[in-house]
């Protein structure tokens, strides 16, 4: 195959930035930070993906979506590879992705507080400081409380705003 017919990896990255996450469709796979690498190996395009959670049921769907999106662009020889290390962290969610989450009603993860084994304790302590509050994505109030450490998907926790009383999902830090 002539090299000229190949789309550049930059172009492929752009295509992947248009593939929505199956569970939170307002953000893309690249916003989520799970596409770790895109490269040509001979005539095969290799896309390296890291799982968010080891048991996340969306992983299979994500792989299918990537293959379908690239097939739609005319790429037939695509191989997906799984990379476990370095493990995915919510710190990799893009700034744009965080804004999209907030607009969608999900409080974005607090950057830089990813897993060290004392997550919630640390967040509870840190949330005393205004810039690290888990704010209500609807009214912006800092008066929020945790309902449960898990939410509607493995990546979220349940919170409630004590001002506007709306329950909301918080994209938990890992």
């Amino acid at each position: 195959m002539a090299t000229a017919l190949r789309p550049s990896v930059e172009e492929v990255w752009h295509w992947l930035s248009e593939v929505p996450d199956p569970e939170i469709p307002v953000i893309s796979l690249t916003d989520l930070g799970i596409i770790r690498d895109v490269e040509w190996r001979d005539d095969t395009l290799v896309v390296t993906v890291t799982p968010t959670y080891s048991g996340c049921p969306a992983t299979t769907v994500i792989n299918l979506d990537i293959e379908a999106a690239l097939a739609a662009k005319g790429l037939g020889k695509v191989r997906l590879e799984r990379r476990l290390s370095p493990a995915w962290t919510t710190d990799w969610i893009s700034a744009e992705g965080r804004e999209k989450l907030k607009a969608y009603g999900i409080a974005p993860p607090i950057d830089g507080t990813a897993a060290d084994g004392v997550l919630m304790k640390r967040i509870d302590r840190l949330s005393g400081r205004s810039n690290l509050t888990i704010a209500c994505p609807r009214c912006g109030s800092a008066n929020t409380e945790k309902i449960s450490q898990f939410g509607s998907t493995p990546c979220k926790a349940s919170y409630r705003c004590t001002d506007c009383l709306e329950p909301f999902d918080y994209f938990k830090c890992i």
């Binding site: 080891s54 476990l84 450490q149």
Partner: protein, 260 residues
Amino acid sequence: MATATPEATVDKAALLEFLLRTGDNALVLGHRVSEWCGHSPVLEEDIALANTALDLIGQTQLWLGLAGEVGGRGRTADDLAYLRDGYEFRNLLLVERPNGDFGKTLMRQFLFDAWHYLLLKALKGSTDRRIAEIAEKAFKEVAYHLERSRDLIIRLGDGTAESHRRMQEALADLWPYTGEMFVGDASDAALAEAGVVPSPESLKAGWDEIVADALAEATLKRPADGYMHKGGRRGVHTEHLGYILSELQFLQRAYPGATW
């Protein structure tokens, strides 16, 4: 960080034994916890339990997937989960204990999480790169599990007279199954020597500390160390595992190779 992969030098049988033990703990506990789905006292906890089970099943796929590779007989994680008999399972007896009430399920989770957390933390530095990578992934999830189970046993222990009584009883029931986590055998010693895994004994002090700290906050009394049940790690199980497997394996046993 891992420096080398001693695949050639480490005893394969010992490595397989370790991977089965670690994968089976996640599989059996994941199954037990999934039994709560649709039965929890409140919706949020139902979701939390199901998500915890999901994390554990995901980790099972990683550990048993690697066990299949190391075993060299072409077995997949599914083959290992669905087609082995009880005596081939290597999980701790603790994780096959029946769920009991919500408090007992959480107490079992806490006692296991505290150990699992320390094990994975040590495994992140394994000389086997594949083990270190799985541990790095699983550690983050388990750190989160430990926070949740610790928080809940404190809330229930230091809750009402009734919840306190139930948590103290759960602790007394489960305590004799905790000793098995810290007793190694020749296979553990061989892997520990090669820096692949920590020796089981080395995790005891850290576990004692996490448990003592949480129990104090939960106003629960640590039971005296008496007789400790052992056997799961070498395939000698309680009757409960058979019931778990009859449900877990039914489909693949009745309809071999079924997919959907």
